[in-house]
């Protein structure tokens, strides 16, 4: 392996003007990802950003790497083709809650199932931004939007639950208002071999402003998010005195020092425990804090590696293909 050049953030800034609404959460994510790219140890020309359609999906235009802005919902399929063709590439999928979970839900669960080694950032603003504000599969029931003037009727997906149910091997949550965490999460995703799904809480100032406020606002964040780490107890709160306890299959918020609760009583995060990850995935406010960080990470075979390995195996077994031989295989005759 040749030495990779050392990059600065600006090396990943393309010559295209960034076009999102002023105040949109997308800017912060773009910036964090550009920074993360300087640290992943990949050459610029070996990085591909693939997106669907949506405000968030304009992302690849702004990255000075290879990139595809594709069609609505299908980015995981394009990425799967890219990665299966050239597993050396670092492939990033950028999608939205509409792109990835509405029209693109099937491709998302299938890329997770195949565990193709790529990284997905799902910009969850709980709204269709680009088409000017219709509710999405993550919108809270009852949301009044352009297409639901009397309130939406659908129950919402919890992306984390869906992903784990589909067989994801890596799921993490982060947010636009914590660029450092965003950056670290991107790095952790790239390091994971297999599909890494990052849900990023993202604010759409125009059509769904402050929807994640409880979790992302610096004032309330600490009391409503638990930043989890593998092997660490689940502690949160401004005063670091709250925690999560597990009894049977029930989670509970407790206060350290009250009712005799000590740190030792708290649930310790094990990112390799699928069932635990599923439980954490479901926590939400206001009763519970949401879990932020890597909820789940487990190693398993990944398709892109296997598809290449299988080609090599068969080559080894049958020898490199010889077309003339193939044509003459089986019954032939001379005239």
């Amino acid at each position: 392996m040749t030495e990779n050049p050392t990059y600065k953030k600006k090396d990943f800034v393309s010559d295209q003007e960034v076009r999102w609404c002023p105040g949109c959460g997308d800017y912060a994510i773009l910036s964090a990802v550009q920074l993360a790219m300087t640290k992943i140890g990949k050459k610029k020309e070996d990085i591909v950003f693939v997106s669907g359609i949506g405000c968030s999906s304009r992302f690849p235009y702004y990255m000075n790497t290879y990139g595809l802005h594709t069609i609505h919902g299908r980015a995981p399929a394009f990425a799967s083709g890219i990665k299966s063709t050239n597993p050396n590439l670092s492939v990033w999928i950028i999608t939205g809650d509409g792109d990835g979970l509405s029209i693109g839900g099937n491709h998302l669960i299938h890329v997770l199932r195949r565990n193709i080694d790529c990284n997905i950032i799902l910009f969850n603003n709980e709204i269709y931004g680009l088409t000017k504000g219709q509710y999405s599969p993550t919108s809270k029931q009852g949301l009044v939007t352009k297409s639901t003037p009397y309130g939406s009727l659908d129950r919402a997906f919890t992306p984390a639950k869906l992903a784990i149910g589909a067989g994801a091997t890596f799921f993490a949550r982060t947010m636009d208002t914590d660029p450092k965490h965003m950056q670290e999460t991107a790095l952790a995703a790239e390091q994971h071999k297999g599909t890494s799904l990052i849900e990023a809480y993202q604010n759409c100032v125009i059509f769904n402003d402050a929807v994640h406020d409880l979790y992302t606002n610096r004032k309330t964040r600490d009391d409503h998010c638990v930043f989890i780490e593998h092997g660490q107890p689940l502690i949160f709160g401004k005063d670091k005195n709250k925690g999560i306890k597990l009894t049977g299959s029930k989670l509970e918020v407790v206060t350290i020092g009250e009712n005799g609760v000590t740190e030792a009583d708290l649930l310790v995060h094990d990112q390799t425990d699928e069932r635990l990850a599923f439980m954490l995935a479901g926590m939400k406010g206001p009763e519970f804090p949401v879990a932020v960080g890597v909820l789940y990470k487990v190693d398993d075979v990944h398709y892109d590696e296997q598809i290449c390995a299988q080609v090599e195996e068969v080559k080894a077994k049958k020898g490199a293909g010889d077309m003339t031989k193939l044509l003459h295989s089986g019954d032939t005759w001379e005239i």
Partner: protein
């Protein structure tokens, strides 16, 4: 022993009776013996429809000849009917005076009823016009195998080889090719080798002693071009053509596909050849099939997607994207009976307009079509070549008939007979490279991830001239629409001129395209022999059409377009060249018969 120029035989029985295998053996043996052949496997629509019903009948028709054979034949001269349903389904198509071989063991009351006969089939059907050979094929098979250590069910299962043996005697076929095949196939289970071989021989011997076969026939070797031959069906040929293109272009081959009848066999075939650097990706649906292929193309593979009508309908949006990306891609549509789910196992040519126009916006694409099973190799290769050399998606049309039908194929000399493929990689001057800068054919270059300095983004929004950046400029949009159209049309300089069969001028020009070539060729030839001024223009390059097409039309008084749809190519040609051409159209899920074409063309000749 009578010499025949050609003969058509149809093996027909229940789905479980092994008729596809029997027919294939007869065909292959005949090919090995030097005949020209054409086959027509005719599957029931369902997996194992109820045993004994007409819906469950599986047929295999083979046409063998001492001269050129191009279709599986209009009317079988010999019908092997393994049960009443097979008789019911096929008798009306058998040539008057032909031979009907019946497995009497299956002609029970129960089976007759299942076949929809309200009584004894032999009474109900008027068999006077046929030579009927009744044989207790099942019991005679079990009898012949009585000493073998096999259960009765397994013994009875060999009855197809017994029937095959009978036909081998009738047409003086050699047993060895089939015995060799049996040895290969069942090598690991000697008991089955013995059972099937014995059945085959027993059938042959039985026929020899049978007074009912008054005559045996011989079909001499065909006088065909010198060379090495094999039989090939269209789907296998298609698969191999792509492998060859990838080899010549020096690229890996990537197939993104979702199974669908009758296209799945291309996926199956390619999956076997991973040692050629072939990757097959069975996607979650047709959309993912094409999208993975576009991704693979962006990453530098020769990329394909294969499907049939309903699946192609799902690919329209992504085809448009590949078109505006200007990436090489081949989309194969093995056409079947439509509309909607339609007749999945039957053949038709009714997806032409869908492939030409089934996308939003002005979205031109190269479209080519294979003419016969043995042509699929070449057209798959050509589709790949055009995609790579013109940086565009290309649609390859075949159909259920040529996909499953087999014929002898003179193996090409790969080192000489194939066109070169000129892959459009950019030169190393990354600094001055623009993603949508074009050559004189409006073709851009193909830079792929991993190439330093060529980092670029593609998208489905309209692009600025040369740079490919997003552009909403009105005039730029118009320019780009014209350029993309022009690019496709310029491929006309990179395809063969249109040939016509017959004189350059005359009373009637027959136009056909795609998988109907065998029938239109034979029909026109017959009329020419009769002295009619008819010529054939069989199109394989549909968009763009060869440059000389328009001129050819001018020299004929009338034009008739024969196709297996309600007039789709006719609509295109009339719209483009204002021909006022008539059509001969058939939508029965079946290929053309030569005789119906001859009649139709005669009528048009007046």
């Amino acid at each position: 022993m009578q010499e025949l120029d050609s003969v058509v035989i149809r093996f027909s029985g229940d789905s479980g009776d092994g008729m596809q295998l029997t027919g294939t053996q007869f065909s292959n043996t005949s090919a090995l013996m030097g005949n020209d052949i054409a086959t027509f496997p005719d599957f029931p629509a369902e997996i194992r429809a109820p045993a004994g019903t007409v819906a469950g009948v599986s047929g295999f028709q083979v046409h063998i000849g001492a001269s050129e054979i191009n279709t599986p034949g209009d009317e079988p001269q010999v019908l092997v009917a393994m049960n009443p349903a097979a008789l019911k389904a096929n008798l009306q198509s058998v040539k008057k005076g032909g031979t009907v071989i019946l497995n009497m063991d299956a002609f029970t009351e129960n089976n007759a009823q299942k076949a929809g006969y309200d009584g004894d089939p032999l009474q109900i059907e008027n068999l006077d016009d046929y030579l009927v050979i009744k044989a207790n094929i099942t019991t005679q098979t079990t009898e012949a195998l009585k000493d073998l250590d096999l259960d009765n069910k397994s013994k009875a299962r060999c009855k197809n080889f017994y029937a095959l043996g009978m036909t081998y005697f009738m047409f003086n076929r050699e047993l060895d090719p089939t015995i060799n095949w049996i040895n290969q196939k069942f090598g690991k289970k000697p008991i089955l080798v013995e059972a099937n071989t014995t059945a085959l021989k027993a059938g042959r011997n039985f026929a020899e002693t049978l007074e009912a076969i008054p005559n045996t026939f011989v079909v001499p070797k065909a006088k065909i071009e010198k060379g090495t031959y094999r039989t090939i069906n269209g789907n296998t040929g298609t698969a191999w053509g792509f492998i060859q293109a990838a080899q010549v272009a020096g690229l890996d081959l990537f197939l993104g596909s979702y199974p669908i009848t009758p296209a799945s066999d291309i996926l199956h075939e390619l999956s076997k050849h991973k040692n050629f650097g072939v990757k097959t990706f069975q996607a979650e649906d047709e959309i993912a099939g094409i999208c993975t292929a576009i991704g693979a193309s962006y990453a530098g593979a020769l990329a394909l997607t294969t499907s049939s009508g309903p699946g192609i309908a799902l690919k329209g949006e992504a085809m448009g994207l590949a078109m505006i990306y200007e990436l090489p891609l081949v989309i194969v549509n093995v056409q079947r009976g439509g509309p909607s789910t339609g007749l999945p196992t039957k053949t038709e040519q009714s997806d032409l307009l869908q492939c030409m126009y089934g996308r939003n916006g002005e979205s031109p694409m190269i479209v080519v079509a294979a003419s016969r099973p043995a042509d699929c190799f070449e057209m798959a290769y050509e589709a790949s070549r055009l995609a790579l050399e013109h940086m565009t998606p290309v649609v390859l049309l075949t159909d259920g008939y040529i996909a499953n039908g087999a014929e002898p194929w003179k193996l090409p000399d790969l080192s000489k007979e194939m066109n070169k493929i000129n892959v459009k990689k950019p030169t190393n001057d990354a600094a001055n490279w623009l993603a949508y800068q074009r050559d004189e054919n409006q073709v851009r270059t193909w830079a792929i991830p991993g190439m330093e300095g060529f980092e670029h983004r593609l998208g489905g929004l309209e692009k600025a001239l040369n740079t490919g950046n997003v552009s909403y400029d009105p005039n730029n949009h118009e320019t780009m629409c014209h350029i993309r159209e022009e690019k496709v049309q310029k491929a006309a300089n990179n395809i063969p001129l249109q040939e016509i069969e017959g004189e350059d001028s005359g009373d009637l020009l027959v136009v056909s395209w795609g998988g109907t070539y065998g029938a239109t060729h034979m029909a026109v030839k017959e009329l020419q022999k009769e002295g009619h001024k008819v010529s054939l223009m069989h199109l394989k390059y549909i968009n763009p059409m060869p440059r000389n097409v328009e001129d050819i039309f001018k020299n004929f008084k009338k034009v008739i377009v024969a196709e297996l749809n309600l007039g789709q190519m006719r609509q295109i040609l009339n719209g483009k060249y204002n021909l006022g051409a008539k059509g001969y159209n058939k939508v029965q899920g079946l290929p053309f018969k030569i005789s119906e074409l001859v009649e139709a063309f005669k009528q048009e000749l007046g």
